[in-house]
């Protein structure tokens, strides 16, 4: 009862509502990731009560992860990397005149995925954290290999170009300082010594390039069609028909979130891929399949709770956002590690309840805002395309307050346009860029620990991940051949 009595405070509710709303706006803007939103508000929470401060940070996190889905669905420009997979089916569904259905699916799936991970966090955090601790360099290397095998599934029908795109991403990941020796590699400009930043690449490949592609269309986003805005009620029916997909994606997102370093994008992409693998209507994916939106959004919001598991139980941040969250916990004078769950229950449990409530607030805002968000589709493209480019520029600039990131973003924007024109996969490139440094660093560390021997692959988790990777590739090849045979009949 004492955990709940804290919520009989108007001030706390106002804080939650404002933080979720601000998070949605931040998440929708390209370049402004949840990490930026949480980071900006950490100093603001100094002086607040611990529960209020943490709930505000949690609200921003939850809102921002969903907010990226709005622009992903309406404009094919993901607000942040975790929403890339949402563009695959969200945007086609919106272009078919059902933006409300797509936004509704994203909101509901995000809520359920997020609530699932918060529940896991509440009930199973300590034992799950012990599993996360068993991930060393060897295990991270096999996780990266598994992530790269997802590219095979994604590239069905254009496998060679998908693989080449991923290798381009791996090469881009080599740019910068070598992770072990610090030797600079391909750092032709001083700003490249730190490597190629992920966010300008994502903004360029997905947002700026979309602005360029829209210039070729130059009409209303949905010309002459009625927007079936109220079809968000159809979204509830879609969710009811996809319970297994929803559960599976929530589990995937939670597990990916628990593993430090894996990230929102990886959780969403893996869940999307598995959803397509097990779907009976594979041909609909990429053309507005509700399952794809459900999988992506449930998983990326499930990463939220998952990423807080190692943070709250062990003081080990699960991703960039939870690392900033750590700052929020320290500012409140709270200890880091298992003591949070034992001596500070009156802070942690209300925070987790508040995180759950933030998801309901996010759902209410998302459903209430559907009509307003969908109106953007009636705007002429001659206004939308330049605006997307301007937001891409400012989003890239805010990363390091440096115009170099803007030029990098524009380079990737033109590259993204050319890749789409010639049939290469921008998603595979991003996956290579994310997973390449992780694979290289962990491989080098594992080889140092094992003194050059490949015996580091003998651990249980490594064998499991390698088996999953082999199964992933095998199943993809099997389904591709099966599809080809069925088509030829």
């Amino acid at each position: 009862m004492e955990y709940i009595s804290i919520f009989f405070s108007l001030q706390l509710w106002m804080a939650m509502i404002l933080s979720v709303g601000a998070g949605i706006v931040i998440g929708a803007l390209p370049g402004l990731t949840p990490a930026v939103g949480v980071g900006l508000l950490v100093p603001v929470t100094f002086g607040m009560k611990p529960v209020t401060g943490l709930v505000i940070l949690g609200g921003i996190y939850v809102g921002a992860v969903y907010g990226g889905a709005i622009t992903a669905i309406l404009l094919n420009t993901p607000g942040e990397p975790g929403n890339i997979a949402t563009t695959f089916d969200g945007y086609p569904m919106a272009r078919k005149g059902e933006p409300g259905r797509a936004l509704g699916l994203a909101g509901i799936a995000s809520t359920i995925g997020g609530l699932f991970s918060v529940l896991v966090l509440l009930l199973m955090a300590p034992p799950l954290a012990k599993i996360a601790l068993r991930f060393g360099p060897a295990e991270y290397f096999t996780v990266a290999i598994f992530g790269l095998t997802v590219i095979v599934s994604f590239s069905q029908g254009a496998l060679l170009k998908g693989v080449i795109s991923a290798i381009i991403g791996l090469i881009l990941g080599i740019v910068g300082q070598d992770p072990i020796m610090g030797h600079p590699r391909f750092a032709f400009f001083p700003d490249l010594v730190g490597g190629v930043e992920l966010v300008p690449c994502v903004i360029g490949l997905f947002c700026f390039s979309q602005g360029l592609i829209l210039t070729l269309e130059n009409e209303e986003m949905i010309a002459g069609q009625d927007i079936k805005v109220l079809r968000y009620r159809q979204a509830f029916r879609d969710i009811a028909r996809n319970k297994i997909n929803l559960f599976r994606s929530s589990v995937i997102g939670t597990i990916v979130g628990i593993v430090p370093g894996a990230g929102l994008a990886m959780g969403a992409v893996i869940a999307y891929n598995e959803s397509r693998r097990f779907s009976k209507k594979k041909e609909e994916f990429g053309h507005g399949a509700p399952e794809g939106i459900i999988a992506s959004e449930a998983a990326n919001n499930a990463v939220v709770g998952g990423s807080l598991v190692p943070l709250i139980t062990l003081g080990v941040p699960g991703n960039a956002v939870s690392a900033i969250f750590l700052g929020g916990i320290i500012i409140q004078g709270l200890p880091i590690g298992p003591e949070l769950f034992t001596k500070y229950k009156l802070v942690v449990y209300p925070f987790l309840i508040g995180l759950g409530l933030a998801h309901f607030i996010m759902l209410a805002m998302s459903l209430w805002g559907v009509k307003l968000f969908a109106k953007t589709l009636k705007a002429p493209i001659r206004f939308i395309a330049p605006a997307i480019c301007v937001f891409s520029v400012i989003g890239s600039y805010t990363i390091n307050n440096n115009l170099t990131e803007v030029w990098i973003m524009m380079f990737f924007g033109v590259l993204g346009y050319l890749m789409k024109k010639f049939g290469f996969s921008t998603v595979s490139l991003i996956l290579g860029l994310i997973l390449g440094p992780m694979a290289e660093t962990s491989l080098q560390q594992a080889l140092v620990i094992s003194r050059g021997s490949l015996s580091f692959l003998n651990s249980t988790i490594c064998i499991l991940m390698l088996s999953l990777s082999a199964a992933s590739v095998g199943l993809s090849v099997y389904f591709e051949k099966k599809g080809i045979l069925e088509k030829s009949k």
Binding site: L170, I171, H183, K421, Q444
Partner: protein, 148 residues
Amino acid sequence: MSANKSDAVIGGLLVLLGFFVLIAARTFPPRTQLYVNLVSLAMIISSAILLAKALYAQWQLKGEKGNTLSPDKPVIWWFVLANMGFVGAIYLVGFHLAAFLFLVGGTLLLGQKKLFTAFIVSGCVVGCLYVIFVLFLKVPLPKGALFG
């Protein structure tokens, strides 16, 4: 340009990229060469396969045209140039003025006929950017050499 020809050109360029990375890796410390060598070899092999497939497909067509890629409309490259001009102008006049000029110019380039509407919409977008980024997020946007 036909799809096969473009694949052949891209395949050839990527093979060269693979060799460039492979040769450059020889200057890296020995411990770090393994991963880079693996990646560059993967690039060389996969892009060589792409090149070979494209050349073979082109040879099989024997003078027929095959699939051709639709040519780009010039507007897209003018738009890219306009974007580059926008970023270049930021150094001189700062973000807000450069964004306003780009938005007006960009909408006119894409077919907007009424200048007054372009001005109003562009002003509103820049205003929103100011409120969100400067007032709310407190991001210090560049003011440019003229106004800085």
